[in-house]
Symmetry: C2
Subunit: 212 residues, 2 copies
Amino acid sequence: MNDIEDQSIQQFLDALASKASTPGGGGAAALMGAQAAALVSMVCHLTLGKANYAAVQDDMQALLQRAESLRAELTAMMQADVTVFNQVMAAYGLAKTTDAEKAVRSAQIQHALRAATDVPLACAKACAEVVHLSRIAAEKGNSNVITDAGVAVMAAYAGLKSAALNVYINAGSIKDREFAEQRLAELAAILAGAEVASSAIYQAVQEKLSAA
Amino acid sequence: MNDIEDQSIQQFLDALASKASTPGGGGAAALMGAQAAALVSMVCHLTLGKANYAAVQDDMQALLQRAESLRAELTAMMQADVTVFNQVMAAYGLAKTTDAEKAVRSAQIQHALRAATDVPLACAKACAEVVHLSRIAAEKGNSNVITDAGVAVMAAYAGLKSAALNVYINAGSIKDREFAEQRLAELAAILAGAEVASSAIYQAVQEKLSAA
């Protein structure tokens, strides 16, 4: 099977809708983040080289570079989410007859759950950064494509909140509570910064549209 | 060029990020809605045929049917968004030297703008219905995949808010104010119903995860 990003959109949506456990919400979260980053890049491309936006050319160049880097990262996370989920399922499927088997199985499950917590946490972190980038795109980018910056912020925010659910569910099954609490605290800090920012950015875009 | 849904995810994201005006935020909005509908279907598939969920089999069958119908509708809207946007651009590109040309151009622009308002309005409407479906998935579906119902609600809500921006921008340029105001009123009603519902559904999912 190809990596997810090589599948057609129709194939991906069919697989998402099917009874197969992967791809699932984690892949959808990463795809929302990747779409958001792509829209920030689009705003940059349509601002670069425009005389009216001469003053922000350097900002747009830096913004484009960061958005493209996050887009690549988030696109790769679609496949990473499938991989870690399958590792968790494989660990649960290990033999558990003898005490030795039980110990191996339990250790493998815990190992897999850590990865299955860290992948969506990284996705949440990347999406939160895209929220921040979409604010720059909305404030400084070509105002003809401000709706695209507005869509970027909603997509990034939805990706963040979606990834958060996968952190909660996997962290909840981790026995090493120090590890789990550290991840949950990190997620809470990411969410706290992005929630207010997202609605402020969306509202600013909406107001610019009404004023136009 | 193939229809968008036949492109690979990587090709779509590359096109979204490029300086080409299409695909843009409208296509991303439809794809978020389609992902949300797909995740509702996934929850249905993983609830149907399970003995523990015998009481909700009919609900899940009906939910699946509606989610799949909306998924098809939203997937097709990705292409429809490109088509109507290109029609607006083509109309703006018409000759405008003589008065007769100006009159034809203006009429064509107005005609295209109506379609470019109605497509995202239909997208918003479909996304709002997926928000409602995701509540049923979260409340009655297999609790092992409740995070997928939670991702569905965030994706559908982001699709709705994103489509709304395209309604605002296109309705704003329509000279027939009766037409425009009627569309904006319809959108406002859709949004009013979905805003509170979305955060309530997400919060209920999050609470179920904490209680597990």
